[in-house]
Amino acid sequence: MSKYTEDDLKKELETKEYEYGFYTDIESDTFPVGLNEDIVRAISLKKEEPQWMTDWRIEAFRAWQQMEEPEWANVTYDKPDFQNISYYSAPNNKAKYDSIDDVDPELLETFNKLGISLDEQKKLAGVAVDIVMDSVSVATTFKDTLAKKGIIFCSISEAIREHSDLVKKYLGSVVPQKDNFYAALNSAVFSDGSFCYIPKGVRCPMELSTYFRINQAGTGQFERTLVIADEGSYVSYLEGCTAPSRDENQLHAAVVELIALDDSEIKYSTVQNWFPGNKEGKGGVFNFVTKRGICEKNAKISWTQVETGSAVTWKYPSCVLKGDNSIGEFYSIAVTNNFQQADTGTKMIHLGKNTRSTIISKGISAGKSQNSYRGLVKINSRADNARNFSQCDSLLMGNSCGAHTFPYIEAHNKTAQVEHEATTSKIGEDQIFYCNQRGIDTEKAIALIVNGFSKEVLNKLPMEFAVEAQKLLEISLEGSVG
């Protein structure tokens, strides 16, 4: 393929208007608050969806009404009032920003600290950015390059309209509508998200990337992502989140489904940095996400996540290892500070023979936060020679925070080999002293040690993300040491 060069990008930037600003100036077409069947129908109508999709949503909504909000997670929060949320908001004018001055300075500062501006972000060659702002995909770049390879990368609403056979076949096949409370809610009201299809034998030439942002106060964000890797294909998908400060809690209930057909590989990386609430624990995003992938024969799914944001996180990216010789991986760093609460982990369901899974989870808690790892490794009776290795390490800073480990291990096959290891430790005073002696101040020293602690996971991130993630860790832990 012809490589997309920086010159191409410059040209594109000159000719195109800056389409995605940050907030306030955009007039939104927002639905009234509340949720009922009419709202679900209205969302479907608004998105010009076919009848089957509307029915699918209604079915999910009816199931959701019967369900209870789960309470087993090790988090406490005021339950969101689902009747007090507007379920649809779409910008009806294109934002016109001439300068970056219009952007929230606090957010800019964060970006500066990250050493990354959105402009720069776009310039990172090889990254196609599909910005989802307020639930509707506003811009998709690199589409042509991808189209040449037969790769479909578009918003899910577009996919429902234009590739309905694919969507119909796979939507809900990994995370059924009735899977859990939030997945059902998402199935009923999702307003947008990304869709990606890699055809047989194609290796996606660039990292596909979506930046989600919540913008409008009071609008929940319900994304739906569907990634399908056809036989023998490969794709690396990046998902990153930033959200500007808000005082009231915002709800984010996304569903991500990955389908890895025979011999294919999907690498799904997430940097989650939603607003975590302020130092008093006020505000912040509720992040209740259902992520699951299914591996057919010889397929591989790899989840990598860096969780630094959100007031409450409830997230278990999982792999169903259905095909023989399939591989599931989960690499996670979860950082909680101040009053954040995270209950995150993974599920590895071994169904096929010779399936392998690896779990590396690093939890870092500071301030008054609570950080839980919750994972399941299940070896089915027919999964001969299944192999799992899990390691979850926790780092505690101060004695007001907590680290929890809830690993579930279920083995039904005698040839299974499962190993689980967990440790909890703190940053040694001698380590800090050593750094101080060499002129590294305490805050930097902590960043250094934390980065070392998380290295195994950071290494798994694509280059562009790794740099950002490292700095994000530093920022998240700022002021955690007195």
Partner: protein, 437 residues
């Protein structure tokens, strides 16, 4: 009538039969209310996720057996640790058997809970300790409500008891199904030491359900070794609750050997209330057929500078199921804790199942907490090595299993008991090894 209803209605009769001035009368009535509200645990509860009581609650258990259930020493001698002299507290169908027992009041009190509850001289001890560390969960409450008999062991300050104590609960099977609820209270004074061996043994194939509660209080520098031998018939089920309350510098060790029974559930709860406590929870589980053993442990680190060690080994054959749910809870004041939890399992059959959930909940930063859990098979290379040197398959397998369980066996401090456990393991894996490990 469901078992729950039956229990609730018999409680009224039971209460009438007891004398009203029992010091624990109020405890009993609170406890029965708790049980009435909570009922039997179901799989919906997180702590009972992998163990269902449905199959054993179906039986029509008789609650108060007839009194004349005499048994002959020669029939049951093999269940005692007869090679050495021990104190013995023996119950037959829940009723104290003075003929088989050997109690004492000399240096320490090794006697019955019923006498402790009724005599005035024990009143202060009962008031200080009884039901003070046991938790109000439904099955413990059920036991508290019906508590009237069990072992009462009180070791005064600085006494090192001269010989081990055996607590044996026999079930004769004279009833078609029986529910036994022994209640043991063990108080070990400052700097005192005691070794206790507990065993539940059914003598026929009639159904037995034992819902046992043991409270252990270890005062400063006390040292308690508690051995649980669970090698019952496949008609017997056991729900065992052990609560240990530790003061500073005390050591409490509980060794659980689970080789038999239909369904066994071990709840071990340790509370460390003083500095420099050490809690040791060890277990060997070897199961076959449709046996089910569930180890549910909790070590609650409340004070700083303490240690806890958990080591559970399991070997599972046929359609047996093993559950390990270990929990280490570290309070934020409990700095400098060293907590270690290990669970190793070997699956021998395709139908065997292991469910493990080693759990850590940590609120203090300066701690060393780790856990490890493995599921695997016997090492093929090691098998080959031994086979090529003329060791039969069965023996080679047995050797490897012994080696696997040896760590835990090493912790047994009574040589005769160790030999006995060795024998039980050999029986269980069907070999005859001519040496002691």
């Amino acid at each position: 009538m469901s078992l729950k209803d039956k229990l609730l209605s018999s409680y009224i009769a039971f209460e009438d039969y007891l004398e009203d001035d029992s010091p624990i009368h109020d405890l009993r009535s609170d406890a029965i209310k708790t049980f009435e509200n909570q009922g039997f645990p179901t799989k919906k509860e997180e702590a009972w996720k992998y163990t269902s009581l449905n199959s054993i609650l179906k039986e029509d258990y008789s609650l108060f057996p007839k009194k004349d259930n005499d048994i002959q020493l020669k029939d049951v001698k093999r269940y005692f640790l007869h090679e050495i002299d021990t104190y013995k507290i023996v119950f037959v169908d829940g009723i104290y058997n003075s003929f088989l027992s050997e109690t004492t009041h000399d240096k320490a009190d090794v006697c019955l809970l019923s006498s402790a509850l009724s005599k005035d001289k024990y009143k202060p001890i009962v008031e200080t300790y009884f039901n003070k560390v046991a938790k109000n969960n439904s099955l413990t409450s059920l036991n508290t409500a019906f508590a009237k008999e069990g072992a009462y062991i009180s070791i005064p300050k600085h006494v090192e008891l001269d010989k081990p104590i055996e607590i044996i609960n026999f079930a004769t099977g004279n009833e078609t199904a029986i529910l036994l609820q022994p209640r043991n209270l063990v108080v070990v004074g400052e700097n005192a030491q005691v070794q206790i061996i507990e065993r539940h043994q059914s003598l026929s194939d009639n159904a037995v359900l034992t819902n046992s509660v043991t409270e252990i209080f270890a005062e400063k520098r006390a040292h308690v070794d508690f051995y649980k031998i669970q090698n019952d018939r496949s008609s017997a089920s056991l729900i065992d609750h052990t609560y240990a309350n530790q003061e500073r510098d005390s050591i409490v060790k509980v060794h659980t050997f689970s080789f038999g029974g239909k369904l066994t559930r071990n709840n071990l709860n340790f509370y460390q209330n003083g500095e420099h406590c050490d809690s040791v929870l060890n277990g060997i589980t070897i199961l076959e057929k449709k046996q089910h053993v569930d180890h549910n442990t909790l070590v609650h680190h409340i004070s700083p500078n303490c240690e806890s060690h958990q080591d559970y080994k399991g070997i599972f054959d046929d359609s047996s199921t093993g559950v390990f749910n270990g929990k280490v809870y570290v309070e934020k004041e409990a700095q400098k804790i060293d907590a270690f939890q290990k669970n190793n399992n070997i699956l021998i059959s395709d139908k065997a199942t292991i469910n493990a959930k080693p759990q850590l909940e940590i609120f203090a930063d300066d701690v060393k907490c780790s856990h490890g859990c493995t599921i695997g098979q016997l090492d093929e290379d090691a098998m080959f090595y031994m086979r090529s040197r003329g060791i039969g398959q069965k023996e080679a397998r047995a050797l490897l299993m012994y080696a696997f369980a040896n760590n835990v066996l090493e912790g047994v401090k009574i040589p005769e008991l160790k030999r006995r456990v060795n024998k039980l393991i050999a029986q269980k894996i069907g070999v005859n090894l001519g040496f002691d490990l």
